[in-house]
């Protein structure tokens, strides 16, 4: 949207006129006063009066009607942002006021107050995983970005877009200004710009959005110069705000897709491994179609909700044996195919061993081949593959399905059906076994994670639920026992495994779920929450409904196990293992913590019989539109 710019020249003319007018108006009064004064008794030399027509040369203007920040706000509002998550910072104060004040109206996007920039970034991460598009994160260019960097890194590893706007000042050097603001995160963002004019700001802002939404998706960063924000709009026509276009995701070339289809159709034991694949329900549905065509088992590496966990072909908990028996493995957006093809143990010497049998074909379809970053090693060890297609797997799925349909012979279809019926029987038994597994330690205190998962399912199963937790530390219970069918039923793991992700990312997902009327449920690790507990206040302040259930094992338990490993290796006993990793003495009262920030809470609960009733009460609170927290003292895993 373009706007004609009028105020600047008129304002200056107005000021000149006003000053001249004031001088004109003042003069008669002075003359009047002078006429009332007695003339001096004797003649005194008088300085000749200054010409009346010229006002003072330098007039300081402390008010502007429209500054650069208003235009920047127009640019941001032209993009499909629903929210801005931010902790305040003086370097974007003008832009903040333009957006939240009467000019911007604090709508589209709405400002979400965060108590730490890492919360803001992680909320953006969780929101994008649920909503399929980025929200905007504002941060101060130096101190704020450093706080936000961990959240940005997780999103990068997870191939999730966040749109970061930095306030920065080049004109006023100091400890809150930086020459190249994006430098500190450039290794783990997709693109950045520091535009030197408002026209370039508009172009860069629109370009950044499109880039963030093009696979491989990841955070982008735009610097909003603080002087440019605060100075009046320059004279002349206002810059145009370009129309935003999102590129079509890259699709695999037809020849390679046909070859992949041929290999899959001819395979006796094809296996599909999927990680950061499904962005949408359509992506999930298409994967189901492909798997059913081939009657191939699907191993979900849990980067997204890729494949319904109750589907007969979901064999995620049988990965090693299936990969070992496969003659063709198809990897879809798998970050580390090396980990798919090999197994390793972490003893004194890490003895990786190939699981994939000799001669088995490995096909990879994923956008990571288009990645141009290299400093961080999140892709893991190199794995040779037989056919690598650098393209967006979700977009490539449709032509792959069609190609497989063309390739499959009647005999191959018949063989596939036999294969599928065997897998269905195994899947059903795996589910039954998981339910039986949950009964072990059923009445134990601290509460077993299996019991807590079952109690939580009972509490939320009647809702249109959305589970939004990183659950590796929770023994994968919901993935093993809850029926996850819809794409929003889960949002996958964190990507970078950086602590401090889960609580704010869950809230970001809840923010996205709110308008859809979904019931958001989060199993929250205690150590993770304490990185940025202020997220609870944000939930209460903005009335974001979310049920947080504490997996309170009173430790950074992963690190407990690491230290235990080292102590065992050194044969030094376990007595000191808790030092530096246990979160006890005193135990943190998470219910009080939540209550202090305006969140309904109960706990700590250590008796499993008390869990169900507490959850029921908390569910009622969340259904009324507010956040709640139930603190459950749990076993380690």
């Amino acid at each position: 949207m373009a706007k004609s710019r009028k105020p600047s020249v008129e304002r200056r003319d107005f000021l000149k006129g006003a000053i001249a007018g004031a001088a004109t108006l003042a003069l008669p009064a002075e003359k009047a006063r002078a006429s009332e004064i007695e003339p001096p008794a004797r003649s005194i030399p008088v300085t000749p009066p200054r010409p009346e027509a010229d006002p003072p040369i330098e007039i300081e203007s402390l008010n502007v009607e429209r500054s650069g920040s208003d235009f920047m706000a127009d640019v941001i509002k032209s993009l499909p942002f629903e929210f801005i998550c931010a902790n305040p910072g003086d370097k974007f104060r003008a832009l903040q006021e333009s957006l939240t004040g009467p000019y911007g109206g604090n709508k589209n996007p709405e400002w979400i107050t965060c108590l730490h920039e890492e919360i803001a970034a992680a909320m953006g991460h969780g929101y994008a995983k649920m909503e399929g598009k980025p929200l905007c994160v504002f941060a101060h260019g130096t101190v704020g970005l450093q706080h936000a960097s961990m959240g940005i890194y997780n999103a990068y590893c997870d191939r999730i877009p966040i749109y970061v706007v930095l306030g920065n000042s080049l004109d006023i050097p100091g400890n809150h200004s930086v020459q190249d603001a994006a430098a500190m995160v450039r290794d783990f963002i997709r693109w950045d710009a520091a535009p030197a004019s408002l026209a370039r700001f508009a172009e860069s802002a629109v370009r950044a959005y499109g880039i963030s939404m093009t696979p491989p998706m990841m955070p982008v960063l735009l610097v909003a110069d603080s002087e440019m924000q605060e100075k009046p709009m320059p004279e002349g026509p206002e810059p145009l705000i370009p129309r935003m276009t999102v590129s079509q995701p890259p699709q695999g070339d037809s020849g390679s897709v046909a070859e992949a289809a041929r290999l899959l159709a001819q395979a006796e034991n094809p296996v599909i491994v999927v990680d950061k694949y499904a962005r949408t329900q359509a992506g999930t549905d298409r994967l189901v179609e492909l798997a059913e065509l081939l009657q191939a088992p699907v191993i979900d590496d849990a980067g997204r909700m890729n494949f319904p966990n109750r589907h007969p072909l979901n064999q995620s908990f049988a990965r090693r044996g299936l990969v070992a028996g496969a003659d063709v493995v198809l990897g879809l957006e798998v970050t580390s195919l090396y980990s798919t093809a090999n197994t390793s143990r972490l003893q004194l010497v890490e003895d990786a061993r190939q699981v994939l049998k000799p001669g088995a074909k490995l096909i990879s379809i994923g956008a990571d081949g288009l990645l141009t970053k290299g400093n961080f090693l999140d892709m893991g060890r190199y794995q040779p593959v037989d056919l690598s297609i650098s393209a967006d797997a979700e977009t490539t799925m449709l032509p792959l399905i069609e190609a497989v349909k063309r390739q499959l012979t009647p005999n191959q279809k018949a063989a596939a059906q036999i294969r599928g019926s065997k897998l269905a029987a195994i899947q059903q038994k795996t589910l039954e076994q998981a339910r039986i597994d949950a009964t072990y330690a059923w009445d134990a205190s601290p509460v077993s994670t299996g019991r807590l998962s079952a109690e939580l399912w009972e509490a939320v199963k009647g809702e249109d639920w959305s589970f939004v937790s990183y659950i590796m530390h929770f023994s994968w219970w919901p993935l093993r026992t809850w029926p996850m069918e819809k794409h929003y039923h889960w949002n996958g793991n964190s990507g970078g495994n950086g602590m401090g992700y889960n609580a704010p990312a869950a809230l970001g997902a809840a923010l996205a779920n709110k308008k859809h009327g979904r019931f958001t449920v989060n199993i929250q690790c205690d150590g993770d929450l304490m990185y940025a507990p202020g997220v609870l206040w944000t939930a209460a302040h903005h009335r974001i409904p979310i049920l947080n259930v504490m997996h309170n094992n009173r430790a950074y338990h992963q690190e407990v196990m690491h230290l235990q490993r080292m102590a065992s290796r050194h044969s030094r006993g376990m007595d000191s293992v808790g030092i530096g990793v246990k979160i006890d003495n005193p135990d943190i009262d998470y219910a009080k913590l939540a209550s202090a920030m305006g969140v309904y809470s109960e706990g700590p609960i250590a008796d499993p019989k008390d869990v169900g009733p507490a959850l029921k009460r908390a569910v009622a609170v969340v259904k009324r539109g507010a956040p709640a927290l139930v603190d459950v003292v749990t076993q380690p895993r």
Binding site: Q315, S316, F317, A318, R319, R320, G321, L322, A324, G325, L346, Q347, V355, I426, Q427, K429, T430, Q433, A434, R435, I436, D437, T439, Y440, A441, W442, A444, P446, S448, T449, G450, A454, W457, E458, M472, H473, S475, W476, W477, R480, G496, N497, G498, M499, G527, Y556, H557, E559, V560, M561, R565, S568, R569, S571, R572, M574, V577, Q635, P636, R637
Partner: protein, 231 residues
């Protein structure tokens, strides 16, 4: 802080129950283990015929653990529990030479008959019934002491305070634990991600006590009697 798991992310379910369930289905024989376990358990192998210690090394290096688990406890949907070994040595060898289902074939060049006998002995050593033959069996365990050691030595960190296991971290080891000797063998030189426990940290007597504790763990209530699972 990061939170990578060093453990495999998947698979530690009770394969015995899986096996029984699949057997009840009748005729479903995708994997070796299914066919293997479907056969009647005829363990006629005389104790000591194979070398269990050597068998442990072979079990690991030949990749048996990939489908059957590091303790041969089975992996749900992949390979069943195979301790005690369901075949006597001759049938065991015959099966591995001409497997059915998804079980891969092991030729004599890969594993000799003697080596398969060693693996058989290892599987036998893991069985609860093998304690009468084990060197550590003359130790009497104290369950109360074992419970304290189970917590002190951090066993509960991965296996849960009742040994119930945690998916991706440590398999279920109680109730009905493997043999005392099997536990001892394994923790001294684990084949998976289990930290190694030297005797000076967890003595043989400690193992006996921990074993006694795991044996004392009460079996869970039948799932049919838990309302949350029957609604």
């Amino acid at each position: 802080m990061h939170n990578n798991s060093w453990h495999s992310l998947r698979g530690n379910s009770n394969a015995l129950r899986l096996l029984r369930s699949i057997m009840a289905l009748g005729g479903v024989a995708l994997l070796l283990p299914i066919a293997l376990a479907a056969a009647p358990a005829q363990n006629t192998k005389p104790p000591g015929a194979g070398n269990a210690a050597q068998g442990k090394l072979l079990f690991e290096s030949a990749g048996c653990a990939a489908c059957h688990g590091n303790l041969a406890q089975g992996i749900s949907g992949v390979g069943p529990l195979i301790t005690p070994p369901p075949f006597a040595i001759p049938e065991f060898i015959n099966f591995l030479r001409r497997p059915s289902g998804a079980m891969r074939l092991f030729s004599k060049e890969e594993l000799s008959d003697a080596q398969l006998s060693d693996i058989h002995a290892y599987l036998q050593s893991l069985s609860p019934s093998s304690d009468s033959d084990a060197p550590a069996a003359n130790l009497t365990g104290n369950a109360e002491t074992g419970k304290r050691l189970f917590m002190r030595d951090g066993c509960y960190e991965c296996h849960g305070i009742l040994g119930q296991g945690a998916n991706g971290y440590g398999p279920r080891i109680g109730p009905d634990p493997i043999s005392m000797q099997g536990i001892k063998n394994y923790i001294r030189k684990p084949s998976g991600n289990m930290p190694p426990y030297a005797a000076k940290i967890v003595s043989d007597q400690d193992v006996a006590d921990i074993h006694a504790y795991l044996k004392s763990v009460v079996r869970p209530v039948d799932i049919k009697n838990i309302p949350l699972f029957t609604k």
